[in-house]
């Protein structure tokens, strides 16, 4: 085809050729559907919630209208809410204890599977570790409720062995919430730990030994520091959902186990109405900002490589 023929092409064909030839247009066509969807149904709800938390919507009969005002009313009411600080404190306490517990429980196993175990059994062992966590979260939690019940397996076992006379009351206590959180979230700690320990170079430990370090010293000075990216990643992966957890406190906790999560839940669902949603939004946004800051610090600290199971 000569350039003359190119000139004589019909107009609409030229437009199509232009789209075909333009990289930018192709990119836009590819990105648009998901971007528009997420902008409307993921990101704009946060903006709506943000506006709502600043009292920028007013209910008129059954509809909501935008009012150009900014008020901190809901934030103040959130801070005035009776027991709010105890609840926050409790949420952090649960989350931190859960992080420590999952770390202590899964590190030895991750170390053994990732570092000591014959490579041909590694993937099977990891699989065995993860399979229970593929079971629905609610059911996993419920199964723990079943086990921790006054007449559940744990108490029955302890009483049969004669270690206790009266059943221990787990359900409704902090202990139950923490045990169940540790159980539910352990795999989130295990996977990144296994990830770093599996890649650990055996020669480094041998080098430490030739330099006169005892196995204990080697672990402390070589293994542990080298696995710190996994520890940080795992801690973050456990901490973020744990600090806002509401299902576990509601299923195995009681009146004294309200957390940030159950609080947000009850503002939205139990209190409802303008005030409930407003205060709930305020609490939710504070929670999100807190998590964003944590994630940002993590990326700064360790790099953007987040490991997923």
């Amino acid at each position: 085809m000569s350039r003359l023929e190119e000139e004589r092409k019909p107009f609409h064909i030229k437009i199509l050729d232009r789209i075909r030839a333009s990289k930018l247009l192709k990119i836009i066509v590819l990105l648009a559907p998901a971007s528009i969807f997420l902008a409307i149904f993921f990101f704009s709800p946060f903006i709506i919630a943000l506006m709502y938390s600043f009292n920028m919507f007013k209910q008129v009969v059954y509809t909501y209208v935008f009012v150009p005002r900014i008020s901190l009313e809901y934030y103040i009411r959130l801070l005035d809410f009776p027991g709010i600080f105890v609840t926050m404190q409790r949420s952090f306490y649960y989350a931190i204890v859960t992080v420590i517990l999952t770390l202590l429980l899964s590190y030895p196993a991750a170390y053994y599977i990732g570092f000591k175990l014959d490579p041909k059994y590694k993937s099977t062992a990891v699989l065995l570790f993860i399979i229970p966590f593929w079971v629905n979260f609610l059911l996993r939690t419920y199964s723990m409720k079943f086990v921790l019940h006054d007449e559940g397996l744990v108490n029955t076992l302890l009483m049969t062995l004669g270690l206790i006379k009266e059943p221990i009351r787990f359900l409704g206590t902090d202990l139950a919430v923490i045990i169940v959180m540790a159980y539910d979230y352990m795999f989130l700690m295990f996977l990144p730990l296994y990830g770093v320990l599996e890649k650990l170079d055996k020669e480094l430990l041998e080098a430490a030994a030739t330099l006169g370090a005892s196995p204990y010293k080697t672990f402390l000075k070589v293994t542990l520091p080298l696995s710190s990216p996994g520890i940080i990643a795992g801690s973050l992966l456990v901490f973020i959902p744990a600090v806002g957890e509401f299902i576990i406190p509601m299923l195995v906790g009681g009146v004294n186990t309200t957390t940030l999560g159950t609080l947000i839940y009850s503002f939205f669902i139990t209190v409802r109405g303008e005030a409930g949603w407003g205060i709930g939004s305020a609490a939710g946004l504070i929670y999100i900002i807190f998590i964003m800051v944590l994630s940002y610090l993590y990326i700064k600290l360790v790099g953007a490589e987040v490991q997923f199971g």
Binding site: M1, S2, R3, E6
Partner: protein
């Protein structure tokens, strides 16, 4: 009148600031085995991709069989292409890979099966129809890629360093095969490679490229023996000696230190700073001064390496710190010179090619 399969006229292609192809014009004859040879990043692959239509030139015209195809998309050009990583479709077997082009052009099932069968015979893989791609060896994959590209009987077959991933033995075998297949199907082959050995063995003509510019287009022997500039001289062949000086005309070259050497004529270099390029195998070595009429230089052996089929000497002389000489190993009783020994180097005036001191020599080259 000579018919041309591919004609490039003043092709230029930029990627951002980089000029990948700089005003390239080429004419590739029908049924020719034509190679584009050059170091990586010299623009040879871009040139090939422009012929294929996978890249659009910024300026210039591409013609296939005399027809301007500059604005025709790849899938409407009648070409075949063998890719660097072969790009055999992993989800199809051998038969379906070869049949792909025929299916795209709506051939009947009977036609397809007949042509695929014939093509498999041409590449000597009969009976391989239902093999999976990952069950084939490197050489066999190569043959399938060739069959897939040739089954449409394209006007021109483009090959982008297809042998790079193979080990030496299979590569040598495939070179012979490629040449045989080219003769059998009678198609124009345009072959891109950085390996001069491949280009030398197979090509009718070679275009040596560097930094987006064509340096020389000639037959392999001419390129080797009559390089047009310092780049080509140093890029082609195992080694070459350069002796700096000024060409005085009348086949006389004044080297550093005032010594006059007899060389072959190059009118372009008269009274310019120049070099003489001499291949190491064209220099003879002896312990007595040769008769007059030959170029003769006195030197001292600095290094000697026994390489089996030849002996390599490195000689220091007043015209150059290091002159490399290859002496063929012709007899068990031949004299071998020791380090420090005084020797005389001689060569025929025709062996010294005068080149103007313009282009840079090639970077240290990869061997093999």
């Amino acid at each position: 009148m000579i018919k041309y399969s591919v004609e490039l006229e003043n092709i230029t292609k930029r990627f951002g600031q980089v000029v990948a192809v700089n005003n390239v014009s080429l004419r590739i004859k029908e049924n020719e085995f034509f190679s584009l040879l050059g170091p990586s990043g010299c623009g040879k692959t871009t040139t090939l991709r422009i012929i294929a239509g996978l890249e659009k030139p910024d300026t210039g015209v591409v013609k296939l069989h005399g027809q301007d195809v500059t604005y025709i998309p790849t899938h409407k050009r009648n070409i075949g292409m063998v890719f660097q990583h072969l790009a055999l479709f992993p989800h199809m077997d051998v038969y379906e890979n070869i049949a792909f082009g025929l299916r795209m052009r709506g051939f009947s099932d009977n036609d397809i099966s007949r042509r695929v069968k014939r093509m498999l015979e041409v590449v000597r893989l009969p009976g391989f129809e239902r093999r999976k791609i990952n069950q084939l060896s490197g050489g066999q994959q190569q043959r399938v890629a060739l069959a897939r590209a040739l089954v449409m009987e394209p006007e021109v077959l483009l090959l982008d360093e297809p042998l790079g991933a193979l080990d030496l033995k299979i590569r040598q075998e495939m070179m012979v095969e490629l040449k045989r297949i080219q003769r059998e199907v009678g198609t124009t082959f345009v072959y891109v490679t950085h390996d001069q050995n491949e280009a030398m063995v197979m090509s009718d003509r070679i275009a040596v490229m560097n930094e987006g510019v064509i340096q020389q287009v000639d037959s392999p022997d001419t390129i080797y023996m009559r390089p047009k500039n310092i780049f080509v001289a140093s890029f082609i062949g195992e080694q070459i000696n350069f002796i700096e000086g000024v060409y005085k005309g009348n086949q006389e070259f004044e080297a550093k230190g005032g010594m006059v050497l007899r060389v072959s004529d190059n009118p372009d270099a008269i009274n310019k700073k120049s070099v003489i390029a001499i291949r190491p195998e064209r220099i003879m070595i002896g312990d007595k001064a040769p008769p007059r009429g030959m170029n003769s230089v006195e030197g001292r052996v600095e290094m000697m390496v026994f390489k089996g089929s030849s002996i390599e000497y490195r000689i220091s002389a007043n015209i150059s710190d290091e002159i490399i000489v290859f002496v063929p190993n012709i007899s068990p009783t031949m004299k071998m010179y020791k380090i420090g020994e005084k020797v005389y180097l001689t060569w025929d005036p025709e062996a010294g090619i005068v080149l103007p001191f313009e282009s840079k020599p090639a970077e240290p080259r990869k061997i093999g």
